[in-house]
């Protein structure tokens, strides 16, 4: 369902941004209030409920036996899936995953995969035959903007919450997490950059860039979205925001 943003709202947000202000009185480099509840779902190996403002995302980790990919016989598997539940927004509809849901899952996946957050080589039971598949299911419960950062944070918190499997083939003392990637999305409205766009801001933003970083501040994944563009200077500025804000978010993971 395409949603028309009223011209009044668009002008109002644009006008505030020009003065360096935001519709909910935040500064441009300020996240909304963040809370992380770990382990709300006992039927999952690990789980977390993340709230960024009114946005709510729950992530659940499941681990199962699987046959490895032929080209990676000595690696466990990571599968990230995201559901934009119709419960979460009047614009989400039931049915096959939308392109937004698939993009969301893939951006979260890249952050975790490319940073080697999970030591997948430890998740091999028998080479080329039996490995552990780690499923991360992201469940968007309430959509008030910035689903990518909330989902990435929920996925990482759920992984950190994951307990060793009660299965005789599981021999690791704990779940093999070695990095903590964190995604920060920077929105651009009228040539101004801001972190953590809320839904109203997403409705009028020109473009966004998501930058996932790890502990040393290096980048492990990026995704640009939206129909307008970024200059080189803007990208450098966005990276700086993502690096600084990323370490703040990471601190919340404990």
């Amino acid at each position: 369902m395409y949603k028309i943003v009223s011209s009044v709202k668009r002008d109002y947000i644009a006008d505030l941004v020009r003065q360096g202000k935001r519709i909910d009185a935040r500064t441009l480099d300020q996240f909304r209030e963040i809370s992380i509840e770990v382990g709300p779902v006992k039927s999952a190996q690990g789980s977390a409920l993340v709230k960024i403002g009114k946005t709510q995302v729950i992530a659940g980790v499941k681990v199962e036996h699987a046959e490895p990919f032929a080209d990676k016989p000595d690696s466990g598997m990571l599968i990230v899936n995201a559901e934009l539940l119709p419960l979460a927004s009047p614009t989400f509809e039931p049915g096959r995953p939308s392109e937004n849901a698939i993009e969301l899952a893939r951006v979260v996946d890249r952050g975790i995969r490319e940073s080697d957050a999970i030591d997948l080589e430890k998740l091999v039971i028998k080479s080329s035959e039996d490995v552990w598949a780690v499923f991360i299911d992201i469940y968007v419960l309430d959509h008030d903007g910035n689903l990518i950062d909330a989902s990435a944070l929920a996925a990482m918190a759920a992984l950190l919450n994951a307990k060793p499997l009660e299965d005789e083939a599981w021999t690791l003392p704990e779940f093999p997490i070695q990095k903590k990637p964190v995604a920060v999305t920077v929105a651009k409205i009228n040539d101004k950059l801001m972190v953590d766009p809320c839904l109203d801001e997403e409705g009028v933003m020109d473009a966004r860039i998501t930058i996932a970083t790890i502990e040393d501040g290096s980048i492990c994944a990026m995704q640009k979205g939206g129909i307008k563009c970024f200059s080189r200077e803007e990208l450098e500025q966005a990276y700086e925001l993502a690096r600084v804000k990323g370490s703040e978010l990471r601190a919340k993971l404990g």
Partner: protein
């Protein structure tokens, strides 16, 4: 866990409950920002959310009814809600549950007040331990009231069954697996009219009546918690 020899020992069930006892129940109304109405139900290890959108414009338009709103329900389980990961998306079970859920809720709604519109009910099971469809209906009824949709009555829902030849209220997963009978029921608590009834297993003639008695008793208790949840959300807070 292997099946124990007895599911009821000295009048107590595996989790320590008596046969006519409900699991710990917690209902909250208005927990989601975007939805027009919402509720969560925790019943033992079950965690279920329900959201209501509407009455809203019906899409696709050819499904509009000129003289009434159309109620649509979707019951869905999170992949991480059960022991073995459930593949996302609807399966035959969830499609059937969605249908009987709609039929359980529709009798109390004044749908004729909103011609051409749609009222959507979305139920999400986050954690499952048997009785998710009834917990979903209980949550959906609270969410409908929270959305301001006019209703003749609440709908309260619970499952009853038979284990070790004893009628019991509100079965857990283990009891459902090892017991002989499961009967989910939904009713209008005021008029004691039944709007959902499914059953699989075996009941002798007199057992069916006893099971219904248990279901009525359980629904009465659930109804109280539903009303309380709505009052808690809207009550005038002291000191304000």
């Amino acid at each position: 866990m292997k099946k124990p020899e007895k599911l009821i020992v000295d009048g107590k069930r595996l989790d320590g409950r008596t046969p006519d006892e409900l699991r710990p129940l917690k209902i909250e109304a208005g927990i989601l920002e975007r939805a027009d109405g919402s509720a969560s139900v925790e019943l033992g290890a079950n965690k279920v959310l329900a959201a209501v959108y509407g009455p809203r414009e019906m899409h696709p338009r050819h499904l509009q009814q000129p003289d009434t709103a159309v109620l649509r329900c979707r019951y869905n389980m999170a992949p991480f809600s059960v022991d073995e990961r459930k593949r996302p998306g609807p399966d035959r079970r969830s499609v059937e549950i969605s249908k009987v859920t709609r039929e359980a809720l529709e009798p109390v709604l004044f749908l004729e007040l909103y011609p051409r519109s749609a009222i959507d009910v979305f139920i999400e099971v986050l954690q499952a331990d048997a009785g998710t469809r009834t917990a979903g209906i209980t949550a959906a009824a609270v969410a409908l009231a929270d959305a301001g949709v006019p209703m003749r009555d609440m709908i309260s829902s619970v499952a009853v069954g038979k284990i070790d030849d004893t009628r019991v209220l509100d079965l857990t997963k283990d009891e459902d697996n090892w017991g002989t009978t499961d009967m989910p029921i939904a009713m209008m608590p005021r008029k004691k009219l039944i709007t959902l009834l499914q059953m699989d297993g075996h009941f002798a003639k007199e057992e069916f009546g006893q099971a219904l008695d248990l279901a009525f008793k359980g629904c009465e208790q659930i109804y109280g918690a539903q009303r309380q949840a709505l009052r808690d959300k809207y009550a005038i807070k002291k000191g304000e």
